[in-house]
């Protein structure tokens, strides 16, 4: 059961070591010539003003919240989709379909609500 995840662990270890190695390589190879202007952040030639980490448009928060809702619902649909064939073969197709329809109805109402409230508008 769990042994099929053993190769995955190895891949994680290998890939982790590889990316760490490459990033460290970039830190230690290559020259370091200190120059006062070089370490300024790029702002098309003018001096940077203000701190970067300020407040930003609320739309990004809204998208994040909507995403969490819909993504979780998508993941909930996966077990149902995997079992759809098996249950339908056993004669429970109508039950499976109506069940999913109710679930998607809730999802659809949510989408329509979000849409009507203008959360999906960018202008």
């Amino acid at each position: 059961m769990y042994e099929q995840y053993y190769p995955i662990a190895l891949v994680f270890g290998f890939a982790g070591a590889l990316v760490t190695f490459i990033v460290l390589l970039s830190t230690f190879v290559g020259p370091t010539k200190v120059n006062r202007g070089k370490y300024k952040t790029f702002e098309c030639g003018s001096d940077p003003v203000h701190d970067v980490r300020q407040r930003f448009s609320v739309k990004f928060y809204v998208v994040a919240i909507i995403f969490i809702l819909f993504d979780i619902e998508t993941v909930f649909l996966y077990p149902w989709a995997v079992l759809y064939k098996e249950f339908s073969m056993a004669g429970l197709a109508a039950m499976m379909f109506v069940e999913m329809l109710l679930f998607l109805l809730v999802l659809g109402v949510g989408l329509v609500y979000v849409w009507k409230r203008g959360a999906l508008e960018w202008d």
């Binding site: 099929q4 995840y5 980490r53 994040a64 998508t74 996966y78 098996e86 073969m89």
Partner: protein, 439 residues
Amino acid sequence: MLADTVIILVKILVILLGIALTAGALLTFVERKQSAWIQNRVGPNRANIFGHIRGDKFKDSIKLGGLLHLAADGLKMLLKEDIIPKGANRVLHTAAPAIVLFPVLVGFAIIPWADHWCAGGLTLLVNHRDVCLSESHNLFSIADLDVGFLFVFAIASLSVYGGAIAGWSSNNKFSFFGGLRASSQMVSYEVPMGLSVLGIVMIFGTLNLNEIVRAQGDLLFGVLPAWGIFVQPLGFIIFLTAMIAENKRAPFDCPEGESEIVSGYMTEYSGLKFGILQLSEFIAVIFIASIVSVLFLGGWQVPYLYGDGFHMPHSAFFPLFALLFFVVGGYLIAVGVRREQMLQKIAGGLLVVLGLVYAVMSTTQANGVQHLPYEGVVLLRLGTMFAKVIFMVWLQLMIRWTVPRFRYDQIMQLGWKIMLPAALVNLLITAIILIPLFS
């Protein structure tokens, strides 16, 4: 256990270093060359093993058709100074490229490049599938997970972090906006991406990628292979679009948007770290190509090829097919007179050749069976998988260089207002159609 570990490690080396990293690096060159041809330019062709030469001091220069640019670019990036801007978060700024590269590498773990090696012989053609009598542990993939696609889904979610962290840690407004746009766009397209695959999962009843590919060897109406693209055409379009958007390449490259925000979250990166950010994009192109091939193009399946060779289901129609191909191909050749219609002529010629093959087969292979040794079948399947991946990579590069960039609001509207409802409708239609088929 030790022997297994060694085998797995060798496979990891071959697939991660050999396929992912090498092909990804190669793709940086291929893209520059292909874009050059699309735009009627020459493309990279100067890098020379003897360095830059004026005049013809050295008559023999070794250029390998520009392929040396790969080595030159890699060396250049390695030998550049790694600049971390003032006020940046040093740890996160360094970690971000690693966080970007890690998920795209890990994703390759579950791609099945061919069917599991069958050591104990096959019982042939039970219900259009060959069943192995004793399955060996020799897989043509690093891991064979039962959760299969969910793993891809999880890995795709992980890749959101890299861009966001890179943008936030750089202490640059352009980077910050790039990171915001990247994360927002990627999460938006993850929803249709997940929903569009549900149809495939419902039809085949499994999440295991190798099982999905096996099931795609079935035949629809006794002729058409049951590839994902034929049973889920809308799902294929939504999935491919969502994956390209996830990868933030044109036409969805607003997070980089050179004309607006310099280079997005990559603005403050230099040297090898910048190289990693670029390279992971190309590796992701290959990953997308392979996952699309596995889910929608039949993976390693060759139409009508089973464990012991080809079984043509429509041998009675061979003469008909031959006639059809002759007529259509001949028409294409006859019509394509101008020089610009060269492609038409080539297609016509290919069709005529195919017609010839069918004509020959209709006389020799009356029952439509052509036996092949098992090793040959496996090689053919491996080659088919690679051919499909290369085709999908080519398609993505074509899209990248021929479609103009969307505005950011268009990207978000497409994701939420068109692709999400379309994916839901696709799911509903699939469910309705499947009820009479399954019961």
